[in-house]
């Protein structure tokens, strides 16, 4: 359908656009492998292999706090994504298949949880975590469980919305038929919904994983030492190193790396996943 001339102009435009997209990231990479003395002066976008150094990465990776932050982030994101997908799937199934009074209001209420400016909840959550949700010496403050639960506020509405669209797309006749054959709700979910919604669940899981990985404000407020995540580590690192730009760039590169890998994984499904059920109208 596309004319050959147009084909190549489009190609050229996308080359240009991709350069614009990649430029800041490439620049950060360059800064992260430059030696301190080479940082200033006329900026060049070319990689000077001869004076390249991995020292910044080495000093970051061998830093025990950095390792701990990385591990915390992995645990928190993974656990949160799993929890959110499980809860979101059940809720979305209910919303899609059951007749319930006030369904639309529930739906909007769930969404409002994501609308709230995070700053509005910082204080009450901080006070609840440090003073109310506690048992003896133990409190939710500065724990990974605290973060895992908290990220549900941000991710559950999102997962719920995505998954509802996906389940709506599965013909209800399929599960009706199974119910007629005497299957339980759990069996229907397991044998029909989960396999059919598989790719959608995967996309939801991966996107929520990325959101949890990327979250900063709550993590910085509700943790102090033990449960700090990589994003708070990055912010902390930037302010500590002050003008040590090379190391800052290295930390930032290491922070965005997992997300980039994830992108490579879901690339194929991401567009389909992002329809939010809106396309069918």
């Amino acid at each position: 359908m596309t004319r050959p001339g147009q084909r190549w102009t489009t190609f050229a435009i996308w080359i240009l656009l991709s350069l614009l997209t990649l430029l800041p990231i490439w620049w950060m990479f360059l800064v992260s492998v430059k030696q301190r003395a080479d940082l200033f002066g006329k900026p060049s976008f070319l990689l000077d292999v001869s004076s390249m150094t991995w020292d910044n990465y080495a000093s970051v990776i061998t830093n025990p706090s950095f390792q701990k932050y990385m591990l915390n982030s992995l645990i928190v994101s993974t656990a949160n994504a799993a929890l959110v997908c499980a809860l979101g799937l059940l809720a979305a199934y209910a919303m899609s298949r059951y007749r319930m009074k006030g369904k639309d209001n529930i739906f909007f209420w769930v969404l409002t949880n994501r609308m709230a400016p995070p700053a509005a909840f910082l204080l009450p959550l901080y006070l609840l975590y440090t003073g109310v949700f506690q048992a003896g010496e133990w409190s939710l403050f500065d724990t990974r469980i605290g973060l895992i639960l908290l990220y549900c506020v941000l991710n559950l509405p999102f997962a719920f919305w995505l998954l509802q669209g996906i389940i709506d797309g599965i013909p209800a006749e399929l599960d009706e038929a199974a119910y007629v054959d005497g299957a339980s709700t759990w069996q229907v979910l397991r044998t029909i919904i989960i396999p059919l919604a598989g790719p959608g669940i995967a996309v939801t899981g991966i996107l929520t994983w990325v959101f949890a990985w990327n979250e900063y404000l709550f993590a910085s407020t509700l943790t102090s030492v033990n449960a700090r995540t990589i994003t708070t580590g990055l912010a902390e690192f930037v302010t500590v190193t002050g003008t040590n730009w090379g190391q800052m760039a290295a930390v930032a590169m290491l922070t965005l790396l997992p997300a980039a890998l994830v992108l490579a994984l879901v690339q194929k499904h991401i567009v389909a996943g992002l329809t939010f059920g809106a396309v069918k109208g």
Binding site: S65, S224, V225, N226, E236, T239, G242
Partner: protein, 475 residues
């Protein structure tokens, strides 16, 4: 020669003597294997504690130390949250001099004098509060019989640094003399500060160097600019304690304060006027960037925190102006120096901090041992070399410190002789609260949205409103 040998052996003997070794291992015996955790700002003195003193302590006592050094904002964030929430994460925290009043008002900290009296077994026989310089007075609570709540670990003065190589270059001197009609020397008046700044900015342009007249710590969105103005510049013009009247808790001239007094306006006008002669990063500069700019040779003079003075002057790995750093007292307005000498005023910030033990700590005893361990006189010289800090009187006499003193244009001597002219932050439990409402007006003045007069008028009004909200003045 013999005397020197003898001295060395005596020191060795003192360190190795069984009595000493016994105290640390005996006192620490019940706490073997305990880990104490601390938090501080990532500064040269704190990093020395983490890298050198903490491992030594572990070897002597078997108590593990996890010492986290982070940024200034994060350090407060973490320490205050921990103490407020009572989560007991930290066993000792850094208390900056200007934070002690807030901490005392919230009763965050353990009374060390009391604790040592109650636990004689934990007290190093050689430890004596009288060994400390007068800086320790800031960590005593006058409402509790001057009991001590923090063991000082660093103290500096914010001095005027200048580039000796430039100031002593005969050609530059001649050209300066020709242009301004007087000899080039470290500034003692504001006019000289400004002239020198103007001169070297022009000199940098003519010679094609990245050189500017003066540093200015004028971050337009960070409290560092608030601090430079109220702690360093305004006092030089004779406006003390942020211009707040501590009897009436008012700030505006109309209500008996001095925050928007003509002297304060003059000070702010002068300080903002320096920006045109400052490196372009000045409006993004906190204390770290000011030190980096000076160390990179980008400024001819400026006010720099003392914790940076020693590394700028001696550490060739990080600084390109090693050997060329001159140290002097900052310029003052007429009468201010006399006021400082008589104890009625001060000429800048006596900066520093202490380690304190939060009530929420579960390992107070082990932490107390650590506090005493790092206060031993024989450990001070190496620490002073790394971080330019001195908290014990005896440290000034140490040969190693005197050696560094010579390399830093007598920074330590200056601190010893003139430290009394400087002062810590005023005793305000509302330090952060008033800073948060006031600092934005400094930012607005820096970017030219407000004139100095407008900025200070509005700041005084905002400060008074905040003090009223906090209950210092009646409605």
């Amino acid at each position: 020669m013999f005397m020197r040998h003898l001295a060395t052996s005596l020191v060795a003997l003192a360190i190795a003597s069984p009595a000493m070794a016994d105290f640390w291992s005996d006192a620490a015996a019940p706490y073997q294997g305990v880990t104490i955790r601390g938090v501080s700002e990532s500064t040269p003195p704190s990093n020395y504690v983490r890298d050198v003193l903490a491992p030594q302590f572990t070897e002597a006592t078997g108590i593990q130390v996890e010492f986290e050094t982070t940024s200034w904002d994060q350090m407060y964030d973490k320490a205050i949250k921990d103490m407020e929430a009572g989560s007991g994460i930290y066993d000792f925290v850094y208390i900056e001099q200007d934070a002690i009043y807030s901490y005392l008002s919230r009763d965050f900290l353990v009374d060390m004098t009391q604790m040592m009296a109650d636990n004689p077994a934990l007290v190093n026989p050689a430890f004596d509060w009288a060994n400390f310089t007068t800086f320790i007075d800031y960590f005593k609570d006058p409402n509790k019989n001057d009991h001590v709540f923090g063991v000082p670990m660093e103290a500096f003065i914010k001095v005027y640094l200048y580039r000796k190589d430039l100031f002593e270059n005969p050609e530059i001197q001649a050209s300066f003399q020709e242009k301004y009609g007087y000899d080039l020397a470290p500034a003692t008046t504001f006019q000289q500060w400004r002239d020198i700044a103007e001169f070297f900015t022009a000199y940098g342009q003519e010679t094609g160097q990245e050189l500017y007249g003066t540093t200015v710590q004028a971050a337009s969105g960070h409290p560092a600019s608030f601090y430079e103005f109220w702690e360093s510049v305004a006092p030089l013009y004779g406006v003390y304690d942020w211009g707040i009247n501590q009897e009436t808790w008012t700030a505006s001239v109309a209500n008996g304060g001095r925050m928007n007094s003509p002297e304060a306006v003059e000070a702010l006008t002068f300080w903002l006027g320096l920006l045109q002669y400052a490196p372009p990063e000045a409006t993004a500069s906190t204390w770290d960037e000011v030190a980096s700019s000076f160390a990179a040779g980008r400024a001819a003079q400026g006010l720099v925190y003392g914790e940076n003075a020693t590394w700028i002057a001696t550490n060739a790995e990080k600084s390109s102006v090693v050997g060329n750093v001159g140290v002097a007292l900052p310029p003052t307005a007429e009468g201010v120096m006399e006021a400082a000498q008589s104890g009625e005023g001060y000429i800048g910030y006596y900066d520093g901090g202490a380690f304190g033990i939060p009530h929420s700590s579960a390992n107070k005893e082990a932490a107390l041992l650590f506090m005493q361990y790092i206060a031993q006189p024989e450990l001070q010289a190496g620490w002073a070399e790394a971080g330019g800090r001195i908290v014990l009187n005896s440290t000034y006499e140490d040969p190693k410190v005197q050696e560094i003193d010579a390399k830093t244009d007598s920074y330590f001597t200056l601190m010893k002789d003139s430290g009394a002219l400087f002062a810590g932050a005023p005793p305000y439990p509302f330090h952060n609260q008033v800073r948060e409402v006031s600092a934005p007006f400094i930012y607005e003045a820096i970017i030219g949205n407000l004139t100095p007069q407008e900025a200070l008028d509005q700041m005084a009004a905002a400060t008074e409103a905040e003090l009223k909200n906090l209950g210092y003045t009646a409605n």
